[in-house]
Every structure is written in structure tokens, then in C-alpha cells.
């Protein structure tokens, strides 16, 4: 250390501090142990959540895809494809499903898309259902 810092003060204060650390009573030590384990348990919980999250997300995405497929197929009772929704470009629900399926090959975009906005696709499916019913009526 630097010359202006007398070693006696530093050495003595460090020795006293070390002695006071060694004299910590069992009650405090026990509470420190509990605190440490609580912190590590919290970290372990976070880690397990992170490990499982990608698998849960993938499963949720696949479930959403299945739900939409069922909704689209159920809106197709007479053999005629459901009416196009909103855009008026003549694209059918089946084509929409094909697009979703095609974009999912290799890239995983479809699953991500549905995972991000499941409510929107459920609304699309409901709209298709209503449009189909209107055509029949």
C-alpha cells in the first residue's frame, strides 16, 4: 500500500474486523444460511421456468394451430369454401390455412405468429364462421 497509509492501523482494524466476523453468533449465522438458500431457491425457480418456457411456448403454438384448423374446417359444412374475410381478394380460408402451413415449414414463423396473436386468429375463425352462415342463410 502507499507510504502515507500506516500499516498498523490497517492491520489492526482488519484483525479486529476478522475477529468480529468470527464471533458472529449462531442465531445470525442461521438466518444468513436461510437467506442464502432462499436466494438460491429463487434462482433455481427462475432457471427451471426459463428451461421449460420454450417447450411450453411451442406446445401452445401447436395447440393454437390445431384450434384454428378445426375452426376453419368446421366453418365449411356444405363443401363450399368459406367466404373471404375483409380483404375481398377472393382468398379462401383453406388458402389461408395453406399459407400458414407453408410458412411454418422450416422457419417456425407460423407458430410464432399464432403464439403472438392467438386471439386475433380466433377472431378470424369466428368471422369465417359467421360469413359462412350468412352465405347459407
Amino acid at each position: 500500500m502507499q507510504q502515507q497509509n500506516p500499516p498498523d492501523l490497517e492491520t489492526r482494524s482488519r484483525a479486529l474486523f476478522d475477529a468480529s466476523v468470527a464471533a458472529i453468533d449462531m442465531r445470525v449465522q442461521s438466518r444468513l444460511n436461510v437467506a442464502r438458500h432462499a436466494a438460491l431457491d429463487a434462482a433455481a425457480g427462475n432457471r427451471r421456468f426459463r428451461l421449460r418456457l420454450p417447450m411450453v411456448s411451442a406446445a401452445a403454438g401447436m395447440a393454437a394451430a390445431a384450434l384454428i384448423a378445426v375452426a376453419l374446417w368446421s366453418s365449411w359444412p356444405t363443401g363450399a369454401p368459406p367466404a373471404p374475410i375483409g380483404t375481398g381478394n377472393g382468398r379462401t380460408g383453406l388458402e389461408d390455412l395453406d399459407i400458414v402451413a407453408a410458412s411454418g415449414s422450416g422457419s417456425g414463423d407460423a407458430l410464432d405468429m399464432m403464439r403472438d396473436d392467438v386471439e386475433f386468429y380466433a377472431w378470424v375463425a369466428a368471422g369465417a364462421d359467421q360469413a359462412s352462415a350468412g352465405d347459407r342463410g
Partner: protein
């Protein structure tokens, strides 16, 4: 259809068997446990010197442990110590600020005044267990109380520099990271702290 999905090269599986990735995580947790066990007692004493209260010191240490493992566990283990002590010092300062605010509020409120800062340190908290050499232990206890009182009289940054640098044994670079300042500032704070302590303790020691 494939029964399991491999998400990483470390072969994390759909079925959740123990994997290389999880083994590494367990090793990491053990390393964290070891680190915290090494620093917890000294961290508690540092917090106790700053706060003069066992329960508050324990709370601050526990909070520092939680924050370290939640936010910085993924950092290289060499960075844990300065990060941990930075969190600890921030926690100590937060408690001190809350006490100051509470003290100000209490002066405006009716009823009996409670002054947490004004409470005298209970000698039993700092005293060592009575042993065969009681006189020596008593002297040691008195010496550490004088040291703590002198440390508390220092400006906060000087106290932090002295405690981290000398009592905790961190080098200048680690202390600078813990205090979020330059190494030059650490040297200045430390030098002033030693000078002040010499003035206060010189006659006694």
C-alpha cells in the same frame, strides 16, 4: 413424429431428463452457493457497522443475495464480488435514507419521538462470547466498538472505500467496480479515510 425436441446442442430433451445443460446449471448454482457462503458473514458485519441494527443488516444482506442471483448469476464468477458489494452498499444507503426520512417525518408527527439513529449500540451485539480470557475479549470488544464508531463518523464514500479495500480485502480495481467510481477516486477516498481514522483512533490505539 419425433417424440422429443432438441433445443440446444447440449441435448435438452422434451422428456426433461437430466442433461448436460442442467448439470452445468447445477455446477453454477453450487459455485454461487460457495461464493455467498464465503461473503455472507463479512457482508453482514459491514452492513451492521453501517446500520447499527442486526435485523436491518440481515435484511440488506438477504436482499443483496437475491438481487445477485436474480440479475447477475449469469455473469462470470470473478465479477460477483464487486457486484455483490455494490448491491450491498446501495442497500445500506437506501436504509439510511429511509431512516433519515422517517426521522424528519417523526419530528412533524405528534406523540412520543422515536429516534432509530440516536439509539445507542447494544454492546452485547458486538461483544464476543465470554471465554476463558475475558479481559482480552473485553478489550477487543471495546476496540471494535471504537473502530465502528470511527467508521460511522466518516463520510459514506470514505467508509465504503476503507471497508471494501481494507476490511474486505478487495483490490483497487474491484473496489472501483463496487463503488462505481474510478480507481483514482478509490485511492483518494481510502487515503482520506485512513487519515481520519488515524486522527480519531491514534490516541486510543
Amino acid at each position: 413424429m419425433a417424440r422429443f425436441v432438441t433445443l440446444t446442442p447440449a441435448a435438452m430433451t422434451w422428456e426433461g431428463q437430466t442433461t448436460g445443460f442442467e448439470d452445468a446449471a447445477l455446477d453454477h448454482a453450487k459455485e454461487l452457493d460457495k461464493f455467498l457462503a464465503e461473503v455472507e458473514r463479512r457482508a453482514f458485519r459491514i452492513a451492521q457497522v453501517g446500520l447499527r441494527d442486526v435485523d436491518d443488516a440481515l435484511d440488506v444482506v438477504q436482499d443483496a443475495m437475491l438481487k445477485l442471483v436474480r440479475h447477475y448469476a449469469a455473469k462470470p464468477s470473478a465479477e460477483w464480488r464487486p457486484l455483490f458489494y455494490r448491491i450491498l452498499q446501495n442497500g445500506i444507503r437506501d436504509v439510511q435514507r429511509r431512516r433519515t426520512l422517517r426521522k424528519r417525518l417523526m419530528t412533524w408527527l405528534p406523540g412520543p419521538k422515536q429516534d432509530a439513529e440516536g439509539a445507542e449500540l447494544d454492546p452485547l451485539d458486538a461483544a464476543a462470547d465470554p471465554g476463558p480470557d475475558g479481559a482480552e475479549r473485553l478489550m477487543q470488544s471495546q476496540a471494535i466498538q471504537k473502530l465502528e464508531a470511527s467508521l460511522r463518523a466518516l463520510p459514506a464514500r470514505q467508509r465504503e472505500a476503507f471497508m471494501l479495500r481494507n476490511l474486505e480485502g478487495m483490490d483497487v480495481a474491484e473496489t472501483a467496480r463496487a463503488m462505481r467510481c474510478s480507481e483514482g477516486s478509490v485511492k483518494t477516498h481510502y487515503s482520506r479515510a485512513v487519515h481520519s481514522l488515524r486522527e480519531q483512533l491514534g490516541e486510543v490505539w
